[in-house]
Symmetry: C2
Subunit: 346 residues, 2 copies
Amino acid sequence: MGVVVSLDDNKKLDANPKSDASASIEALLKLTKPGMAQVNQLILSKCGSDVQMIPEVARHLIDSGGKRLRPMLTLAAAQLCGYQGSHDITLAASVEFMHTATLLHDDVVDESDLRRGKSTARMVWGNQASVLVGDFLLGQAFRMMVDAGSLDALDVLSSAASVIAEGEVMQLSAAQNIETTEDQYLEVIKAKTAALFSAAAEVGPIIADADSSMRTACRSYGLNLGLAFQMIDDALDYGGSAAELGKNVGDDFREGKITLPVILSYRRGSDTERKFWREAMEQGQNDDDALKHALDIMKKYGAIEETIERAHTYGNTARDALAPLPDQAIKQALLDVIGFCISRAH
Amino acid sequence: MGVVVSLDDNKKLDANPKSDASASIEALLKLTKPGMAQVNQLILSKCGSDVQMIPEVARHLIDSGGKRLRPMLTLAAAQLCGYQGSHDITLAASVEFMHTATLLHDDVVDESDLRRGKSTARMVWGNQASVLVGDFLLGQAFRMMVDAGSLDALDVLSSAASVIAEGEVMQLSAAQNIETTEDQYLEVIKAKTAALFSAAAEVGPIIADADSSMRTACRSYGLNLGLAFQMIDDALDYGGSAAELGKNVGDDFREGKITLPVILSYRRGSDTERKFWREAMEQGQNDDDALKHALDIMKKYGAIEETIERAHTYGNTARDALAPLPDQAIKQALLDVIGFCISRAH
């Protein structure tokens, strides 16, 4: 838990060695605190409706204690560019609404019972309410973007909305296909996760009217952080570096979702092992014994460690994206978050 | 079928008496034909994706032969204001995408098997694909709005997106509650149907940079046309003025959807009849015999005729909304469409 990735192999960082403490979200939390208080207030007010079910369903998910990393990225990226206005608040809230809408729809698509240890909205209010309240939040997200008044920001965020949905469909098409390649996996997570991280970070410089190199830097930081984040999530679904059974372990396995740990294990495995993966992922032979066997194979081939290693590489790319920018506290906070995202796997 | 509403009681029209032929969509089809060809092309190109399932699902619905009334309203309203650019095409396509996304999600929410006589997308590709492709189309709709470059139009259409979803949730909450009032019904159809008609018409004057009275006129025309349209749809679900069993009759009844014909029959009925409605709509006693009995009660109290009559009134309001505008062919075409929408019930 407290263990943090070694950054020794990151040459960029040799000049500025990181301690374990730097793999932390604390600095980002602190520097975005006043802004996030406003974001949270805006979120609450914009999920209000005379239709009682809407705030009930929306707040069930919104109050469930997510870290709100994405809106923090928007605030931080705006801060990085010296932005002084208030549109970063509006855009940050709209980013969180897009994310919440996606989660509501995802839980319907994945038929999930639990999220963050709580019953999913669809289990409490049904699939119908989850689909429709998701649509409502997406509509509210767009209204807030319009309020912010920047066509460029609207362009980036609305493109992300299409791409996210495209990624989810891609994932649906790839589900239970054990021949999915690492490239296809990358394409899926780029669309379904990294696109929103990227957009969240890019709209900061856009509303700050920063130059295009700033925009490119933030976009690339967000994109690569998002890729690393999702890979770590996928490693965590098999217990992280411990690769052990535990709570919330094995959801992807039971859904036949082809993630990087599975792809690597399948490709590195023997014929017998490949047969096992086919039966587990494609034919639904995925009981607890099968999951235990899956974890054993993953350990044997270091599939989880390798997934974390890949995440580490994307984390370094995110780090390099910000390298040319002048040193300041908010930049350091954004760099710390990379380590934080990756350290979750240990 | 060929019978058309009598407009004798509409004083506005005395000076300009309408023949049966005026209750027609032909003039609108003709005047928007070149524009609609471009809209249709844009629609096809914007539902393209490398993810094969997306165009498959989208085109299943898009090719299923809807009249595309909503995008025609956008083109006509722009024409009414003398608009010469091409953003009406973009906005019209985005209106149709919003509509298509709503239909995809509606079919999931209503668990519908058929739409326009064809299997629904969810029956062919599953609920999951319908939810996600709906999200994709909504994202594409917003991207097109951004392309059109008008923050005012974005404001109107993104507000409509929220309101539509709100209306659908409202309908879900009201479902199977026989005590639903006519006011509550009006609120639901205003949100779930009339809001998009209204927005579709209002963005015409917006991109034409017409004065605010033009905007108000088109908005009001669209809103009231949408209300009339939905009431007629709800009357048609019980066979229209014939109130007879036939294909697609009784879907709302079987879903326990409380529409105006039911509200009026319930409120005008005897205690025994009210007991019947409660059992049918709230407790699901809705077999074919029950539907036949429902139609008999509706006939007895003239509930369908009264629903059509109400629609007629909203149609007249739509007509009056355009009254101050100078006479021109496109205005007449928009007036004809009101009669067309209402005449469907006969």
